[in-house]
């Protein structure tokens, strides 16, 4: 067990990590950032998605030791104070959720997509989001939310 330093949501946190300790368990169990979810443990459902230097990554198959010195963003770090990120707002506006357990991962993946591609087509959205599972079946609303957020980001010049 060694002590590592992680930059999460702009703050430096200390955590204990073995070679096999996942970023997901550090976030949830040590830093109490439970917005990042466990869904499958093999990177197949996207519920655990976080941003590493602005790019989406599955925290359940990421060893904590490999992201030292990188900028880690979780769902808790997306809003600026009381002001929601446009993607969070778009998910609310489209009511793109039912049980919402997939929502944090969906939002983090979608933010990553817009970072890479500010104006994705419906097909590009579906391709990029393929690895995120929603069992309640709100997919069409999630696609609409991503399109809405893309427009909002563009209009706000963010």
């Amino acid at each position: 067990m060694s002590r590592i330093q992680l930059n999460v949501n702009g703050n430096i946190h200390s955590a204990d990590a073995d070679n096999d300790t996942t970023l997901l368990s550090v976030l949830r169990d040590q830093l109490d950032l439970t917005g990042t979810k466990y869904g499958c443990g093999e990177g197949q459902c996207g519920a655990c998605t976080v941003l590493i230097d602005g790019k989406s990554q599955r925290s359940c198959v990421t060893r904590a030791g490999t992201v030292v010195g990188r900028q880690i963003t979780t769902i808790e770090g997306l809003a600026k104070g009381d002001r929601l990120h446009p993607m969070q707002q778009a998910f609310l506006d489209e009511q793109a959720m039912q049980c919402a357990y997939c929502t944090p991962g969906m939002i983090m993946s979608a933010v990553s997509l817009l970072n890479k591609k500010p104006n994705p087509s419906v097909t590009e959205i579906a391709d990029f989001m393929e690895g995120n599972v929603c069992r309640c079946g709100t997919h069409p609303r999630i696609v609409a939310a991503i399109q809405r957020a893309a427009k909002a980001v563009k209009e706000a010049g963010l």
Partner: protein, 720 residues
């Protein structure tokens, strides 16, 4: 017993998970027991409880009438907030919002002043569970009655306060206003924090749907912000100081028993508690990683018997019928006229068999529970659709009175009928008792696949007789194992025999969204197309010829109209339709598919569902449920199936079990028929029922290939 109560007490036979004994029967180590309970006096109370437990029966749901006291359901706080108590739970169907609407509508309080306490066995009235699409027809109605009674009471209090005639007083926005003097008084000032001890009157007219101002509108998820920010804590996210993480030793196959066990190495790991009690072996440790290491250090040998594989499944079901009366008393058989006579004199006679595989719910949040003991009382936070049922399971397993067990259900990451049981609650409570610290048990995805329960597999055999003009004269329908929900035909057929045959099941099975109505509608509605084809009639025309029910005709016609039924289509495309009636809802779904003749690939291009469930409470949420039911339904219709062999699940992880993903999702349109003249019915299940047969029928239309097994195209369409 009112019609509503009757419906509530009716537990369909295929809720197999409720009719079986709980998963654990603990011996409970006696030293641990005395340490926990202390004095000998308590032994007496334990014996008494053990006796009471025998009298109450094993694990069966029970019925209690809804309490009539307003204060049990609703409290107006001095802070002006209205707190509402309901045993129903939130799993994504958005009833926290729709029940808030019910209260706001009748109590005349702004939405933001209402908070719901849901599924807490200490605070909320008894509730059998959140299933069977009962929340809207029973709880929405109950909370409207309670709120209307509270409103009338408040008007009375204001009339007394001002010494004026109550006819002058109007309730609105959380205040009573005197229409003559224009004086207003807040509800909170009238109630002064007191409990509303009055009861709901026998007769009290509710606001009719045509005059609703809050119900009938699209209220967004009331606490949506907590979900998009990650703030909401699901059962998996619960935490307590000094909490340990628990893990359970699983046998290598179903039904295996321990032959030898060595836990010494695990016990040597610092901070680890090992518990072996009957068929239960588990560990608790300060972190999940240490718990996993401890579990891996346990040496166990198991004994098991050979078991069948999914290749032999359907043959097995047909050969393993269980006779005798159904313990639920559910009618298994429906018979009218003479099927034999009608079949022998029919112009056409067709016989077909349909099969349905086991599928898994795959709730994105696997089962989880956090348990904490205080003396001989235990509190458990867990994701279950039956908090009161789990309370009973815990009370029985630990020989406690139910008053010593509190189960709370934080809004949970979906369930779909798959979370009726309390496995993790029992596991966490057992470990916490030995560890004397709070313990959380969170199942892995693999555990959720293997140790929960599946939607029942089934075989459905149908024989139909037709007159030349397309009138159905005989209907002989036999369902083996999958269940009796939705088994009755809604077509007008003079001679019918409809029979559910319970059988032994090689896998643990139980409730799944829609129950067996999905299987029964699949078989019935595909067979309807086969009958139509035999007399060269169009599928829609054939259905309408044999269907009198106006509500059902209306949804078939609405779906067909929106879809453009009968329009021209390119080669390789097919149209299909299917529908039915269940749990107070009427559904018809029309589907367009494309079939690639060379690759065999089937794509669902378009789905149109027309749905009618009486007066609509929340239109946008209803659209959301219809879309979601169809998308979830795509999995079971097209490719989801559990493979198993010798007591093991072969594809029990998300990399091996395919669920619908973004690229699978077609254009989905939903048409809602809002019948403000009819009571509101639930809508979480029935919208799913038309999809599978509509797809099967559309594939036949596109390719001439009739597929009779769910899932239809596990590896792409095979054209033989």
């Amino acid at each position: 017993m009112s019609a509503n109560e009757k419906l509530q007490s009716l537990v369909e036979p295929e809720r197999y998970e409720l009719n079986r004994a709980p998963s654990y029967s603990f011996e409970l180590d006696r030293r641990e027991f005395f340490k926990l309970l202390g004095a000998g006096v308590l032994v007496v109370s334990v014996l008494k409880d053990a006796h009471a437990f025998q009298e109450s029966g094993a694990g069966r749901p029970r019925m209690e009438p809804l309490p009539k006291e307003i204060g049990v359901w609703l409290h107006i706080g001095e802070n002006d907030l209205v707190t509402v108590y309901t045993g129903k739970v939130e799993v994504g169907q958005n009833i926290r919002s729709s029940l808030t609407q019910a209260v706001a509508e009748e109590l005349k309080v702004p939405i933001e002043k209402i908070q719901l306490v849901m599924g807490d066995t200490k605070l909320t009235p008894f509730d059998m569970g959140t299933f069977g699409s009962r929340t809207t027809p029973t709880m929405n109605l109950q909370l409207r009655k309670v709120s209307a009674a509270a409103r009338d009471l408040l008007i009375g209090l204001a009339a007394k306060h001002w010494q004026v005639d109550r006819q002058r007083l109007v309730a609105s926005e959380g205040k009573i206003t005197d229409s003559q003097s224009q004086h207003s008084i807040e509800y909170a000032a009238l109630v002064k924090g007191q409990q509303l001890t009055e009861t709901i009157p026998e007769v009290d007219p509710l606001v009719p749907a045509t005059e609703w101002t809050v119900q009938g509108k699209s209220l967004p998820k009331v606490d949506g912000r907590d979900f998009v920010t990650g703030k909401h804590r699901y059962p998996y996210d619960q935490k307590l100081p000094d909490m340990l993480h628990g893990k359970i030793l699983r046998p290598p196959s179903f039904g295996a028993t321990l032959a030898a066990l060595d836990t010494k190495a695990a016990e040597k790991i610092p901070g680890v508690v090992v518990v072996h009690d009957g068929n239960f072996v588990g560990v608790a440790a300060p972190s999940g990683e240490v718990a996993s290491r401890a579990l891996a250090a346990i040496k166990a040998e198991w004994k098991s018997d050979p078991q069948i594989s999914n290749q032999e499944l359907f043959e097995y079901l047909k050969k393993n019928e269980i006779g005798g009366e159904d313990p639920t008393g559910y009618p298994r058989q429906h018979e009218q006229g003479s099927v034999e006579k009608a079949l022998s004199s029919a112009d056409h006679r067709i016989e077909q068999s349909y099969t349905v595989n086991y599928i898994a719910h795959v709730p994105l949040e696997p089962r989880a529970a956090l348990a904490q003991w205080s003396g001989d009382e235990v509190t458990v936070w867990t994701g279950t659709q039956r908090p009161f049922g789990v309370r009973k399971e815990l009370a029985e397993a630990f020989r406690l009175s139910e008053g010593k067990v509190r189960v709370l259900m934080p809004d949970t990451g979906s369930a779909y009928g798959g979370k009726h049981t309390g496995e993790t609650a029992m596991e966490a409570a057992r470990l916490a008792r030995a560890a004397k610290l709070p313990v959380k048990v969170t199942w892995t995805r693999e555990e959720e696949f293997a140790w929960a329960y599946f939607r029942p597999a089934g075989v459905i055999d149908i024989t139909g007789g037709l007159a030349k003009d397309g009138t159905i004269v005989a209907w002989d329908f036999h369902n083996y194992n999958s269940g009796a929900a939705g088994i009755q035909t809604f077509y007008d057929i003079p001679n019918q025999r409809i029979l559910f045959h319970p059988t032994r099941s090689p896998l643990r099975q139980g409730s799944y969204r829609g129950l067996a109505a999905t299987a029964n509608h699949f078989a019935r509605e595909c067979f309807m197309d086969e009958l139509a084809h035999s007399v060269n009639m169009g599928p829609l025309e054939f259905r309408l010829k044999n269907l009198k029910n106006d509500r059902l005709r209306a949804v078939f016609e609405a779906a067909a109209k929106k879809f453009g039924w009968g329009q021209k289509k390119p080669a390789g495309r097919g149209f299909g339709i299917g529908g039915g009636f269940e749990k107070g809802g009427n559904v018809a779904t029309s589907v367009e598919v494309s079939v690639d003749r060379t690759t065999g690939e089937v794509r669902i291009l378009r789905v149109v569902t027309a749905f009618e469930c009486g007066a609509v409470v929340n239109p946008d949420n209803l659209h959301n449920q219809i879309e979601g039911a169809n998308i979830m339904g795509l999995g079971g219709a097209l490719f989801e199936a559990i493979q198993f062999q010798n007591g093991r699940i072969l594809n029990g992880r998300l990399s091996e079990y395919r669920v619908p993903r973004f690229s699978d999702v077609p254009v989905i349109e939903s048409v809602i028929l809002d019948r403000k003249d009819l009571p509101s019915a639930g809508a979480g299940e029935t919208p799913m029922l038309g999809l599978a047969p509509a797809i099967g029928n559309a594939i036949f239309d596109a390719s001439g290939v009739r597929l009779r097994t769910l899932p239809l195209v596990p590896g792409g369409l095979k054209i033989s």
